[in-house]
């Protein structure tokens, strides 16, 4: 099968949202991509059962950063707060999507239905995961969702950080994984609107292998996107970070089956690369 940039058009974008504070920019990024690819947006607000359990504990107190004060938590207040948060996010998504004339839907997922809804959402082309989330100090939002998609999902995941979303130049990493063609297709799509060449890094041991592997991808229709191939020492995160930084890359696309896309791998990339990261799958 030949995968071309045209084949990689995102038709359905899944946007998981939780009670974290950073979802506004994520909505805007999703709207921008949906408008570009004529896709629909599916917003899912995950009502975290941990929060409800926390609120039911007899000593549970919440520390409020704005006033540095504490208050007693109870399940009713927590449920109300989550409803309010879901309502706010729904209204925001509706307002942005209506203005951009983008089809949209919004769901609230509870523990009992989460698995089912995530399963349905897994059919989406693109998942946008905001960085940050329920667990303070962690780098990932909605850990349960993240874990689900890393274990079950097959779609492309955008680890959204709110850094010049989608701005060129786009850098694609082609390593040994089977998703390399998909990586190239997704990167081509994202680069197509940027007006700058797509920088393709091919992991290879030596010039001969680089030439061979670059040649394998030479038949892919580029749909007008100019590509520049460069060699990268085999699967080395340090080298990748150095090269992406040198190329001033704003968006990095790697395969989901790449060793760098493991939980430990992407944590490293998130920490050291000041750019958006897309895991193509």
């Amino acid at each position: 099968m030949t995968t071309s940039p045209r084949d990689a058009v995102f038709r359905r974008i899944l946007l998981p949202l939780d009670s974290g504070a950073r979802d506004g920019p994520g909505i805007d990024a999703a709207i921008g991509l949906a408008a570009r690819f004529h896709a629909e947006i599916v917003g899912i607000f995950i009502e975290d059962s941990d929060l409800m359990r926390l609120a039911a504990l007899p000593f549970a107190r919440e520390t409020i950063p704005l006033s540095v004060s504490t208050r007693r938590l109870d399940p009713a207040d927590m449920a109300r707060a989550l409803r309010v948060r879901a309502g706010v996010l729904r209204a925001r998504l509706q307002e942005r999507a209506t203005r951009a004339r983008i089809p949209w839907s919004f769901h609230v997922a509870r523990d009992e239905s989460l698995q089912e809804q995530l399963g349905e959402a897994a059919a989406s082309d693109l998942l946008i995961l905001g960085v940050g989330g329920r667990r303070a100090g962690s780098l990932r939002a909605a850990d349960r969702v993240t874990r689900y998609f890393f274990s079950h999902g097959a779609c492309t995941v955008w680890l959204y950080r709110g850094l010049a979303a989608g701005a060129p130049p786009v850098v694609a990493l082609l390593d040994d994984g089977p998703s390399s063609r998909r990586v190239l297709a997704v990167a081509g799509q994202l680069a197509r609107h940027g007006g700058k060449p797509l920088l393709v890094m091919v992991s290879a041991d030596g010039a001969a292998e680089f030439a061979r592997r670059a040649g394998e991808f030479g038949d892919i229709p580029t749909d007008g996107v100019e590509m520049e191939f460069r060699p990268l020492a085999r699967a080395a995160a340090t080298d990748l970070i150095r090269m992406v930084t040198a190329a001033r890359g704003k968006l990095l696309v790697i395969g989901r089956d790449s060793p760098l896309a493991s939980e430990a791998g992407y944590r490293r990339l998130l920490e050291d690369l000041p750019c958006e990261i897309v895991l193509a799958g």
Partner: protein, 806 residues
Amino acid sequence: MNRPKGLAPESLYTRCDPAQFDFETTAELSGGGILGQERAMEALQFGVGIRREGYNLFVLGPPGIGKYSVVRHYLERDTEGAAPPPDWCYLHNFDQPDRPRAVMLPAGRGQALRKDMERLVDDLRNAIPVSFETEEYHTRVREIEETLKDRREQALAGLSTETEARGLTLIRTPGGFAFAPERDGEVLKPEDYERLPDEERQRIEAAVEELQDKLANVLRQAPGWQRESRDRIKALDREVALFAVGHLIDEIKKKYQDIAAIAAHLDAMQDDVIDNLQEFRGQEEAPNPLGITLGEDPSLRRYQVNLLIDHGRSQGLPVIYEDTPLYQNLVGRVEHLTRMGALVTDFTLIKPGALHRANGGYLILDAKKLLTEPYAWEGLKRALYAREVRIQSLGQIYSYVSTVSLEPEPIPLDLKVVLLGDRSLYYLLQSYDPDFAELFKVTAEFEDRVERTRENDRLYAGLLAALARREDLCPLDRAAVARVIEQCARQAEDAERLSVHLSGTLDLLRESDYWARQAGRAVIVPADVQRALDMQIRRVDRVREQAQEAILRDLVLIDTTGARVGQVNALSVIDLGNFSFALPTRVTANARMGEGEIIDVEREVDLGGAIHSKGVMILTSLLAARYAQDRPLSLSASLVFEQSYGLIDGDSASVTEFCALVSALAGIPLDQRLAVTGSVNQHGQVQAIGGVNQKIEGFFDICRARGLDGGHGAIIPVSNLAHLMLREDVVEAVRAGRFHVYAVGTADEAIALLAGVPAGERDGLGDYPAGSVNRLAEDRLREFADLRHEFAKPPADGYEHDDVPA
């Protein structure tokens, strides 16, 4: 008695001899300066030369005399070649934005500064965003942000680690943070928690409490970290901006290092730019919900230069004439723009007034216009006293409005004001405004007429040449020049004077030029001048024609033949503003016995002016003194201007009234072929009157229309002889013996001419000759006195007349 001979035709019109001129046409004449204004020119020279406070000028003289042209020409010539005064501009005041700074620059450098500042702002708009888009800048900002983030995350991570070590987890809730016991990556369920041993629960709760305190400590530090981070970014911005801005501003500062105010302004501007970098960095205009174009970015206008006065191209000192001396046209104003329905302003909307434009030179103003514009005179005086121009609206001065506006710094004033006005205005100001004498110490008075000498004729020819050249008119041949000079004498109503009323003369030249061109001539000849004069009258003499027609159709009764007792033709002038003419008016008198009262009917019905009444009283006194020195003036008489329905004033008919009254007394008919004008004094002397030429011509026109028989004529005061500049047709009629002009020195001479008998003089016994007019009049008055005396006696029958029984 035969009438004496009238005046010779030569005395009726004083010609200007073209042969005296040594040119063929005025094209040969150069120069052509100012005629007969030596006194005024000396005053101008003095007023311009003296550089002391209050020595402003008031140039007075009648309208249309050319005051403005002369003054302007003199000032421009006087200031030619002088170094122009400095430029003035207004700059934004960064310390007090409502008080723009006034800055003085050498002439011509204001424009350069304006362009330099425009270019500087353009450069800043380009350079600043570029500086902030560099990778280095973003890296440093990210470093600062990462530092903050690291501090926060480290603090939270440290807390999180301690939390995990205690078997708990730190959770982000919708409203903040909370600690909870965790098992298998999930928060412990409440029922599981309840199943824990008491000691464990106490440990957990104590740990949570302790961790909450630690979290609070971390959170309390966060605003400080954020502030520190913001300060570091701000300092970085300043550093980057200074690097981008500093050399651009330094470049201009070097150029204007000799002007301290500009250097100070540039320093302040640099600080302002650095404090307001966002205005340069975010150049995209916010979407406007109403779709109204706001135009230029208002926030950057404060870096512009409002070049109020630019003398970059000036030659010499400014000589400014303000035609509309409104208050704000004098002192300047602050204009406003409508922005989204509100009125807004800034220092770029400060507009100069005439005082600014004339500063360093001369400001010419029409005094009447100045005084009739509200507050303009007060504003001018205030500026002259303070020696500065302060731009304030009337609303600000009089607190009509209390909205916030600008108070621009005043600009020092060093100029001379030249007011142009007529004499009455000058004397009114002298009388009623003490400030006037303080501020306008120099008076330059223009003459409206000059002596008619050969030298002045020559100078006048030069003046005509200059006017023709200036107005691009055909030159005049010397005969035409002579004809214009004659007309100027007529305009002056004096054969021995010339009017220097340039406005009227210029009109005559323009119209003569028109007729010359119509006739295909390149030179104006006397016929063109005459045509212009005739057509001037033709265009405006409809009223005269109608009035003459009324007389000729006997609608207005004027006899020009025969003789009538108590009836004389007087001559009155009708002034229509741009044209005046004269008509004969019938004056009649009736006399009977009475108690010495002479009724002036015009006065009785309030149609007679004060001077006219005075004339009637004088002739009453004359009658009494002449005929009734030793007995009561037992006369009751009435005087009427027949068919006169308007106000009558002046005493030029008092000789006429005297003659009519004496005729009525003496019963002597008076020749109706003659008309009389002149005023009489108590001794019977005839005095000069105005409009003598029009009066003679007015009667001549009627007589000619009815047919001149050689007996028609006009009697005028002998003192008016020097004023005669009669129309050519009148002179020709006199030359042909068909019309006459008689000049009389006394009322007796006038009545003798009218009555055809001598007036008579008292002999050695004090009697008038028998048959003379005076004798007849005196006899009649004596009869009246006797009769009155008889009436005054008690009746012989012992009854008072009123008591006679029925």
